[in-house]
Symmetry: C2
Protein backbone atom coordinates (compact mmCIF):
# COMPACT_ATOMS: atom_id res chain seq x y z
CA UNK A 1 0.00 0.00 0.00
CA UNK A 2 2.96 2.31 -0.22
CA UNK A 3 2.48 4.40 -3.30
CA UNK A 4 3.85 7.88 -2.97
CA UNK A 5 6.39 7.10 -0.33
CA UNK A 6 3.56 7.49 2.11
CA UNK A 7 3.66 4.40 4.25
CA UNK A 8 0.57 3.16 6.02
CA UNK A 9 2.02 4.25 9.31
CA UNK A 10 2.68 7.72 8.00
CA UNK A 11 -0.88 8.08 6.82
CA UNK A 12 -2.17 6.64 10.08
CA UNK A 13 -0.30 9.28 12.04
CA UNK A 14 -1.34 12.01 9.66
CA UNK A 15 -5.06 11.35 9.83
CA UNK A 16 -4.98 10.52 13.49
CA UNK A 17 -3.34 13.86 14.21
CA UNK A 18 -5.99 15.59 12.15
CA UNK A 19 -8.82 13.78 13.91
CA UNK A 20 -8.95 16.15 16.85
CA UNK A 21 -10.44 19.61 16.90
CA UNK A 22 -7.86 21.00 19.29
CA UNK A 23 -5.01 19.82 17.12
CA UNK A 24 -6.61 21.20 13.97
CA UNK A 25 -6.98 24.48 15.78
CA UNK A 26 -3.32 24.44 16.73
CA UNK A 27 -2.47 23.91 13.09
CA UNK A 28 -4.49 26.96 12.11
CA UNK A 29 -2.78 29.09 14.69
CA UNK A 30 0.79 28.10 13.98
CA UNK A 31 1.23 28.92 10.33
CA UNK A 32 3.31 31.94 11.05
CA UNK A 33 5.37 29.97 13.49
CA UNK A 34 5.64 32.62 16.10
CA UNK A 35 3.79 30.93 18.90
CA UNK A 36 5.59 29.17 21.70
CA UNK A 37 4.05 26.13 23.30
CA UNK A 38 3.08 27.98 26.45
CA UNK A 39 1.65 30.85 24.44
CA UNK A 40 -0.42 28.28 22.57
CA UNK A 41 -1.46 26.61 25.77
CA UNK A 42 -3.06 29.84 27.01
CA UNK A 43 -5.63 29.50 24.26
CA UNK A 44 -7.07 26.20 25.43
CA UNK A 45 -8.99 25.12 28.48
CA UNK A 46 -6.48 22.47 29.39
CA UNK A 47 -3.12 22.17 31.04
CA UNK A 48 0.16 23.09 29.46
CA UNK A 49 1.23 19.46 29.47
CA UNK A 50 -1.89 18.45 27.54
CA UNK A 51 -1.17 21.00 24.82
CA UNK A 52 2.42 19.87 24.79
CA UNK A 53 1.22 16.35 24.07
CA UNK A 54 -0.97 17.56 21.22
CA UNK A 55 1.99 19.37 19.72
CA UNK A 56 4.03 16.19 20.01
CA UNK A 57 1.36 14.25 18.14
CA UNK A 58 1.34 16.88 15.41
CA UNK A 59 5.12 16.82 15.30
CA UNK A 60 5.32 13.05 14.93
CA UNK A 61 2.81 13.33 12.12
CA UNK A 62 5.06 15.84 10.41
CA UNK A 63 2.40 18.52 10.57
CA UNK A 64 4.41 20.97 12.64
CA UNK A 65 8.03 21.59 13.46
CA UNK A 66 9.47 23.12 16.58
CA UNK A 67 12.29 25.60 16.57
CA UNK A 68 14.13 26.51 19.70
CA UNK A 69 14.35 30.22 20.29
CA UNK A 70 15.98 31.08 23.54
CA UNK A 71 14.03 29.33 26.23
CA UNK A 72 10.97 29.12 24.06
CA UNK A 73 10.02 26.51 21.51
CA UNK A 74 8.27 28.06 18.53
CA UNK A 75 5.75 25.88 16.76
CA UNK A 76 5.22 26.20 13.05
CA UNK A 77 2.78 24.39 10.82
CA UNK A 78 4.28 22.76 7.77
CA UNK A 79 2.06 23.73 4.85
CA UNK A 80 3.35 20.81 2.77
CA UNK A 81 1.95 18.42 5.33
CA UNK A 82 -1.58 19.19 4.26
CA UNK A 83 -0.56 18.39 0.75
CA UNK A 84 0.66 15.06 2.01
CA UNK A 85 -2.76 14.43 3.51
CA UNK A 86 -4.36 15.42 0.26
CA UNK A 87 -2.01 13.04 -1.49
CA UNK A 88 -3.23 10.25 0.73
CA UNK A 89 -6.82 11.05 -0.19
CA UNK A 90 -5.90 11.18 -3.87
CA UNK A 91 -4.25 7.83 -3.54
CA UNK A 92 -7.43 6.40 -2.08
CA UNK A 93 -9.53 7.86 -4.83
CA UNK A 94 -7.13 6.75 -7.52
CA UNK A 95 -7.13 3.23 -6.15
CA UNK A 96 -10.84 2.84 -6.46
CA UNK A 97 -11.08 4.81 -9.65
CA UNK A 98 -8.85 2.20 -11.23
CA UNK A 99 -11.16 -0.47 -9.92
CA UNK A 100 -14.16 1.18 -11.42
CA UNK A 101 -12.32 1.66 -14.67
CA UNK A 102 -11.35 -1.99 -14.80
CA UNK A 103 -14.99 -2.77 -14.19
CA UNK A 104 -16.40 -0.53 -16.87
CA UNK A 105 -13.78 -1.90 -19.19
CA UNK A 106 -15.32 -5.30 -18.71
CA UNK A 107 -18.81 -4.01 -19.15
CA UNK A 108 -18.03 -2.04 -22.25
CA UNK A 109 -16.21 -5.01 -23.75
CA UNK A 110 -15.32 -2.64 -26.52
CA UNK A 111 -14.29 -3.82 -29.94
CA UNK A 112 -11.07 -1.94 -29.49
CA UNK A 113 -7.69 -3.67 -29.53
CA UNK A 114 -6.82 -6.39 -27.10
CA UNK A 115 -9.78 -5.89 -24.84
CA UNK A 116 -10.77 -9.46 -25.39
CA UNK A 117 -7.38 -10.82 -24.46
CA UNK A 118 -7.90 -10.24 -20.77
CA UNK A 119 -10.19 -13.20 -20.72
CA UNK A 120 -8.26 -14.36 -17.71
CA UNK A 121 -9.56 -11.41 -15.80
CA UNK A 122 -13.01 -11.80 -17.17
CA UNK A 123 -13.07 -15.49 -16.41
CA UNK A 124 -12.65 -14.65 -12.78
CA UNK A 125 -15.61 -12.38 -13.16
CA UNK A 126 -16.76 -12.20 -9.58
CA UNK A 127 -13.29 -12.58 -8.26
CA UNK A 128 -11.43 -9.34 -8.20
CA UNK A 129 -10.14 -9.83 -4.74
CA UNK A 130 -6.50 -10.36 -4.50
CA UNK A 131 -5.60 -12.32 -1.40
CA UNK A 132 -5.29 -9.15 0.60
CA UNK A 133 -1.77 -7.88 0.40
CA UNK A 134 0.06 -10.53 2.26
CA UNK A 135 -2.49 -11.17 4.91
CA UNK A 136 -3.07 -14.79 5.57
CA UNK A 137 -4.97 -16.73 8.09
Amino acid sequence: MVVDGLTDETVDRLFHALADATRRDILRRCVRGELSVSRLAEAYPMSFAAVQKHVTVLERAGLVTKQRCGREQLVRTDPDAVDRARQALDELETAWRSRVDRMSGLLADDAGSDAGSDAGTAAGSGDDKEPTEGQDR
Copy 2:
Protein backbone atom coordinates in the same frame (compact mmCIF):
# COMPACT_ATOMS: atom_id res chain seq x y z
CA MET B 1 -15.30 26.66 13.21
CA VAL B 2 -18.16 25.24 11.26
CA VAL B 3 -17.69 26.53 7.78
CA ASP B 4 -19.02 24.22 5.13
CA GLY B 5 -21.61 22.54 7.26
CA LEU B 6 -18.81 20.32 8.42
CA THR B 7 -18.99 20.34 12.17
CA ASP B 8 -15.97 19.56 14.27
CA GLU B 9 -17.49 16.26 15.24
CA THR B 10 -18.06 15.35 11.63
CA VAL B 11 -14.46 16.08 10.76
CA ASP B 12 -13.28 14.22 13.84
CA ARG B 13 -15.14 11.12 12.76
CA LEU B 14 -14.02 11.48 9.18
CA PHE B 15 -10.32 11.68 9.92
CA HIS B 16 -10.49 9.16 12.69
CA ALA B 17 -12.10 6.69 10.32
CA LEU B 18 -9.37 7.35 7.78
CA ALA B 19 -6.62 6.91 10.33
CA ASP B 20 -6.57 3.13 10.09
CA ALA B 21 -5.01 1.10 7.31
CA THR B 22 -7.63 -1.64 7.49
CA ARG B 23 -10.45 0.86 7.13
CA ARG B 24 -8.74 2.61 4.24
CA ASP B 25 -8.39 -0.76 2.59
CA ILE B 26 -12.08 -1.46 3.09
CA LEU B 27 -12.82 1.84 1.41
CA ARG B 28 -10.75 0.86 -1.60
CA ARG B 29 -12.50 -2.46 -1.90
CA CYS B 30 -16.07 -1.28 -1.61
CA VAL B 31 -16.43 1.22 -4.39
CA ARG B 32 -18.44 -1.11 -6.50
CA GLY B 33 -20.63 -1.92 -3.55
CA GLU B 34 -20.91 -5.59 -4.21
CA LEU B 35 -19.12 -6.92 -1.16
CA SER B 36 -21.01 -8.14 1.86
CA VAL B 37 -19.53 -7.70 5.30
CA SER B 38 -18.63 -11.36 5.62
CA ARG B 39 -17.12 -11.41 2.14
CA LEU B 40 -15.06 -8.42 3.22
CA ALA B 41 -14.10 -10.09 6.46
CA GLU B 42 -12.53 -12.98 4.58
CA ALA B 43 -9.90 -10.58 3.33
CA TYR B 44 -8.51 -9.64 6.71
CA PRO B 45 -6.67 -11.54 9.40
CA MET B 46 -9.23 -10.72 12.03
CA SER B 47 -12.63 -11.84 13.16
CA PHE B 48 -15.88 -11.05 11.41
CA ALA B 49 -16.96 -8.96 14.37
CA ALA B 50 -13.83 -6.85 14.16
CA VAL B 51 -14.43 -6.07 10.50
CA GLN B 52 -18.04 -5.34 11.32
CA LYS B 53 -16.86 -2.76 13.82
CA HIS B 54 -14.59 -1.16 11.26
CA VAL B 55 -17.48 -0.92 8.84
CA THR B 56 -19.57 0.70 11.57
CA VAL B 57 -16.88 3.31 12.14
CA LEU B 58 -16.77 4.03 8.41
CA GLU B 59 -20.54 4.22 8.32
CA ARG B 60 -20.78 6.66 11.20
CA ALA B 61 -18.19 8.78 9.41
CA GLY B 62 -20.37 8.76 6.31
CA LEU B 63 -17.69 7.06 4.27
CA VAL B 64 -19.73 3.99 3.40
CA THR B 65 -23.36 3.00 3.28
CA LYS B 66 -24.86 -0.42 3.77
CA GLN B 67 -27.64 -1.80 1.68
CA ARG B 68 -29.52 -4.87 2.69
CA CYS B 69 -29.73 -7.47 -0.02
CA GLY B 70 -31.41 -10.62 1.11
CA ARG B 71 -29.53 -11.84 4.12
CA GLU B 72 -26.44 -9.97 3.09
CA GLN B 73 -25.47 -6.43 3.81
CA LEU B 74 -23.64 -4.87 0.88
CA VAL B 75 -21.09 -2.20 1.70
CA ARG B 76 -20.49 0.65 -0.68
CA THR B 77 -18.00 3.47 -0.43
CA ASP B 78 -19.46 6.93 -0.87
CA PRO B 79 -17.15 8.76 -3.29
CA ASP B 80 -18.44 12.13 -2.11
CA ALA B 81 -17.12 11.39 1.34
CA VAL B 82 -13.56 11.79 0.20
CA ASP B 83 -14.51 15.15 -1.17
CA ARG B 84 -15.79 16.03 2.23
CA ALA B 85 -12.43 15.10 3.69
CA ARG B 86 -10.74 17.20 1.07
CA GLN B 87 -13.07 20.02 1.96
CA ALA B 88 -11.95 19.77 5.55
CA LEU B 89 -8.34 20.02 4.45
CA ASP B 90 -9.18 22.96 2.23
CA GLU B 91 -10.87 24.64 5.13
CA LEU B 92 -7.74 24.21 7.20
CA GLU B 93 -5.55 25.58 4.47
CA THR B 94 -7.90 28.46 3.77
CA ALA B 95 -7.95 29.36 7.44
CA TRP B 96 -4.25 29.82 7.62
CA ARG B 97 -3.94 31.27 4.18
CA SER B 98 -6.19 34.09 5.34
CA ARG B 99 -3.94 34.52 8.34
CA VAL B 100 -0.89 34.78 6.16
CA ASP B 101 -2.71 37.19 3.88
CA ARG B 102 -3.70 39.35 6.80
CA MET B 103 -0.05 39.27 7.76
CA SER B 104 1.32 40.26 4.38
CA GLY B 105 -1.29 42.98 4.34
CA LEU B 106 0.30 44.37 7.45
CA LEU B 107 3.74 44.04 5.97
CA ALA B 108 2.74 45.72 2.75
CA ASP B 109 1.09 48.46 4.72
CA ASP B 110 4.07 49.64 6.67
CA ALA B 111 7.18 48.09 5.29
CA GLY B 112 9.45 50.00 7.63
CA SER B 113 7.73 49.33 10.91
CA ASP B 114 8.58 46.60 13.35
CA ALA B 115 7.45 43.22 12.18
CA GLY B 116 7.99 41.89 15.64
CA SER B 117 5.26 43.87 17.31
CA ASP B 118 2.51 41.86 15.75
CA ALA B 119 3.44 38.92 17.91
CA GLY B 120 1.26 40.65 20.39
CA THR B 121 -1.48 41.03 17.86
CA ALA B 122 -1.65 37.36 17.21
CA ALA B 123 -1.56 36.06 20.73
CA GLY B 124 -2.27 38.97 23.00
CA SER B 125 -5.28 40.60 21.44
CA GLY B 126 -6.64 37.13 21.22
CA ASP B 127 -10.28 37.52 20.55
CA ASP B 128 -8.90 35.53 17.77
CA LYS B 129 -8.93 32.56 20.06
CA GLU B 130 -12.14 31.01 21.04
CA PRO B 131 -11.54 28.70 23.95
CA THR B 132 -11.55 25.72 21.68
CA GLU B 133 -15.06 25.38 20.47
CA GLY B 134 -16.81 22.14 21.15
CA GLN B 135 -14.32 20.24 23.18
CA ASP B 136 -15.93 16.98 22.36
CA ARG B 137 -14.39 13.85 23.48
